[in-house]
């Protein structure tokens, strides 16, 4: 099984490669860096666009060579140029061929905080059946010449209180254990504002949030017990609740490590196999300070099955 990183020519790819390296090293997998070319359409034997196809392939190769140049020597790495009718379909085909364990892509748009979904990554989420990791712009691994090369140190699983998200946490604990990392269970909330004219005071919502936090913490305690009974115990287990006046502040109210990923589950309302982001998850993704791994519900079930059987 491999880690597939999608690279587009003429689009910065360092962040995605760095994340791919981190995951490949942590899970001890081979890294496959893939670039997708558009194939001739309509398909024909006359090959009128041979020169154009050659240009595209060369362009892609150059981009791949540039991308893998920075990959450290301890990582096994291959490059693939794949032709497909769309980047989304191509990446999924590569993932199937290479038996991918994770698909890694970069954030869309201009450099900036958080993660933006572009047309390709958004389409991927709709169709992917394996977890998709997205690196925010400027994601780099800490460089430390003397110490061991960077590995995943912690997996933070976002817990929303739903059943699928508690399954996600259990699954997250299992993969964190695989990678020798710790698990952190995190819940976030923005402080809602009371209705000004309701005459119940502006802090009415603080009580609701206090009750919410108590509920969340008691659920998490149950989940932690289950993690401890699973036999695949991560390096460490932490619980954290981040609060802020908006999602940006709420995510930054907790400390993040440089070699950490945030696990986000799929909304339980979406199709069974695929990723569909809930409204809260979409907001968390947009402001996440660390790479985000989006887990489709079917993958969550696989996680869970592994967590419970082994």
């Amino acid at each position: 099984m491999t880690i597939v990183v999608g690279v587009a020519p003429n689009h910065p790819s360092e962040a995605a490669i760095q994340l791919g390296v981190l995951l490949a090293r942590s899970y001890d997998r081979e890294l496959v860096v893939a670039s997708i070319n558009s194939v001739a359409w309509p398909p024909s034997d006359s090959r009128v666009d041979t020169e154009y196809q050659t240009f595209l392939i060369n362009n892609a190769r150059a981009a791949l060579d540039e991308a893998v140049a920075g990959v450290p020597s301890d990582i096994r790495v291959r490059t693939v140029v794949h032709g497909a009718s769309s980047a989304r379909r191509g990446l999924l085909e590569v993932c199937a061929e290479e038996e991918a364990f994770r698909l890694v892509v970069g954030s869309a748009g201009e450099a900036g905080e958080g993660i933006k979904l572009g047309s390709v990554s958004f389409g991927l989420l709709q169709a992917a059946e394996i977890p998709v990791a997205i690196a925010p712009h400027g994601f780099t691994l800490p460089v430390d010449a003397s110490g061991p090369a960077a590995r995943l140190t912690r997996v933070t699983a976002a817990y929303s209180g739903s059943d699928t998200s508690s399954e996600l946490v259990l699954g997250g604990a299992a993969v964190a254990a695989d990678a020798g990392a710790g698990i952190r269970i995190a819940s976030f909330h923005t402080r809602p504002r009371a209705y000004a004219a309701a005459g119940v005071g502006f802090q009415a919502e603080d009580q609701v949030i206090a009750e919410w936090e108590a509920t969340i913490r008691s659920h998490i305690t149950e989940i932690m017990t289950e993690i401890e009974q699973s036999g695949r115990i991560p390096e460490s287990i932490e619980v954290v609740v981040g609060a802020g006046k908006n999602w940006h502040d709420a995510l930054r109210a907790v400390a993040w490590q440089r070699t950490e990923v945030l696990l986000l589950g799929s909304s339980s309302l979406g199709p069974l196999a695929r990723i569909s982001l809930g409204s809260h998850a979409a907001k968390i993704l947009r402001t996440s300070p660390v790479p985000v791994v989006l887990v489709p519900r079917r993958a969550t079930d696989d996680y869970l099955a592994r967590a419970r059987t082994e």
Partner: protein
């Protein structure tokens, strides 16, 4: 420590010094104008759109005086409310203030009133909304809802369906979790005032002095009974007092905002009432649905002004229903956290972060009330609940001034003790002239709540348990302090105790 019945009934919930919940660093400060708009916003829209057809048949054109009297009494009471609110350093509803000053039993009494002020007024407002929705649908699409689906059984219908639908919609919004900024409130207020001024501007063209010929056909009693029904349309003014905690310079701004809001509200009401009375004879008000729209249509002879008013009413009554329903769920939430209401009311859904069960229960009950009860009964029940709550608050101001003269109050009622006494007299006077059925139902309701308290709330009281386990220590007659706070605030406790009771048992046990 076994406590006596008296100690139980009047145990006072201590207020943590840091203001209660942990996240106090996000204190917002509200200036004078938005503060005033909070009062106006909570008030306008509850009653004025439909109360005339209930009050004019009772008071005649002298209903103008009913408005002024109701406004005066509301103003006096809200001043007292502001003092009470400012002497408790957390914000909350009058239930919370009563609990932290008067004790558990009076707090339950206030809670019984608040369930009427909020729950029943939501139902009343929703019924008023249904009339305007019907009017709007009729004007825009040319068909009317069937009578059976628009009126309560007593009025010849089966169920008031639009009112039920409105409450269901608000319920969904509250479950989903919406927030409402002070700025949004201000915008909503301006829409409401604009609609009412539009009514005045168009309606004044139909002015006929003859309509005022028989000014007070039912005399003074009529005026006072009218004031009782109209008092309903001043519900919401107390929102200003609860915002006092976050107001900039409350000592100056709170009374100005209150009086300013009162003058704006009363002014708009009187203008609307004068216009309506000038436009049609007082005999025509009775039973008139969507009154303000109907009056304009009769004057102009076209439907468009009625449509404008109906659309404005539909929007503004919707926002009021949402806000008041919200208030009701949060009051029950606070009571449940204190052990004074069943635990189900404090369950928060982790995903939506809102008290879902609470919201659904409240909405179902309010929807039933709105669906089957006539509007005049709902309006009077709201009025008496609010009047009784204000009555308790006014008494509380006097009790507290005597019991704890040195308590820090950010705002003090001017002309003490004249204003609290006038407020008490005013409330009693209006209550006296309400229909006997209203007073009887109110008395039964309050008794039921208090009986419920005696058998369950008193034993489930979180405060009671905290006193038993020593988390809260008794520092004087009726005075308690959190054990964790007691050490830091021994000086404060001393002051209060010495002043309040001659220091019979001072709080410096540590």
């Amino acid at each position: 420590m076994a406590s006596t019945m008296r100690q139980q009934l009047f145990r006072v919930k201590p207020v943590p010094r840091d203001g209660g919940e942990s996240d106090t660093q996000l204190k917002r400060s509200i200036g004078l104008f938005p503060l005033m708009m909070i009062g106006v916003g909570g008030t306008i829209g509850t009653g004025i759109f439909f109360i005339l057809s209930e009050a004019v048949p009772i008071a005649g054109p002298a209903v103008i005086w009913s408005f002024i009297i109701a406004g005066l009494v509301a103003g006096l009471s809200v001043l007292c409310y502001a003092e009470l609110a400012s002497s408790v350093p957390v914000s909350g509803s009058s239930y919370s203030y009563a609990y932290s000053t008067l004790g558990e039993l009076p707090a339950m009494g206030v809670a019984a009133c608040l369930l009427l002020e909020y729950g029943v007024s939501t139902a009343a407002v929703a019924v008023g909304w249904s009339q305007y929705v019907n009017q709007l649908i009729n004007n825009l699409f040319g068909f009317e809802l069937p009578h059976a689906l628009l009126y309560a059984p007593e009025e010849g219908g089966i169920i008031n369906l639009p009112a039920v639908i409105l409450i269901a919609l608000c319920c969904l919004l509250l479950i989903r979790g919406t927030s409402h900024s002070v700025a949004a409130n201000t915008v909503m207020v301006l829409i409401k005032i604009a609609v009412l001024l539009f009514f005045v501007a168009v309606g004044i063209t139909g002015w006929n002095m003859d309509h005022f010929a028989n000014f007070a056909p039912f005399g003074f009693t009529g005026i006072m009974t009218g004031a009782g029904i109209i008092f309903f349309s001043f519900v919401g003014l107390d929102a200003v007092a609860t915002a006092g905690d976050e107001a900039k310079n409350p000592r100056r701004n709170l009374p100005i905002a209150l009086i300013g809001a009162l003058i704006i509200v009363t002014g708009v009401y009187v203008l609307v009432a004068l216009t309506a009375l000038g436009a049609q004879a007082s005999g025509e008000f009775e039973g008139q649905a969507a009154g303000l729209s109907a009056i304009l249509e009769n004057i102009v002879g076209a439907t468009w002004p009625g449509t404008v008013v109906a659309a404005g009413a539909v929007i503004s009554i919707f926002s009021v229903t949402l806000v008041v329903l919200y208030g009701q769920t949060r009051i029950l939430f606070a009571m449940s956290r204190d052990g004074m209401a069943p635990k189900i009311f404090q369950k928060v859904n982790p995903r939506t972060m809102t008290p879902v069960a609470n919201t659904i229960i409240v909405s179902v009950i309010v929807a039933i009330l709105a669906g089957v009860l006539p509007i005049n009964f709902l309006a009077e029940m709201t009025s008496i609940g609010t009047l009784a709550a204000f009555l308790v608050v006014s008494i509380a101001v006097i009790v507290l001034r005597r019991r704890e003269p040195d308590l820090e109050r950010k705002f003090r009622v001017p002309l003490y003790p004249v204003i609290p006494i006038l407020s008490i007299l005013g409330c009693l006077w209006i209550i006296k002239d309400l229909r006997p059925i209203t007073i009887i139902v109110f008395a039964i309701w309050t008794a039921l709540v208090l009986v419920w308290y005696y058998f369950t709330g008193r034993k489930n009281s979180v405060l009671g348990k905290q006193i038993e386990t020593g988390m809260i220590v008794l520092t004087g007659p009726g005075r308690y302090r959190l054990a964790s706070d007691a050490a830091d605030h021994a000086d404060y406790a001393d002051d209060a105790d010495n002043a309040g009771s001659g220091g019979s048992s001072s709080g410096d046990s540590r």
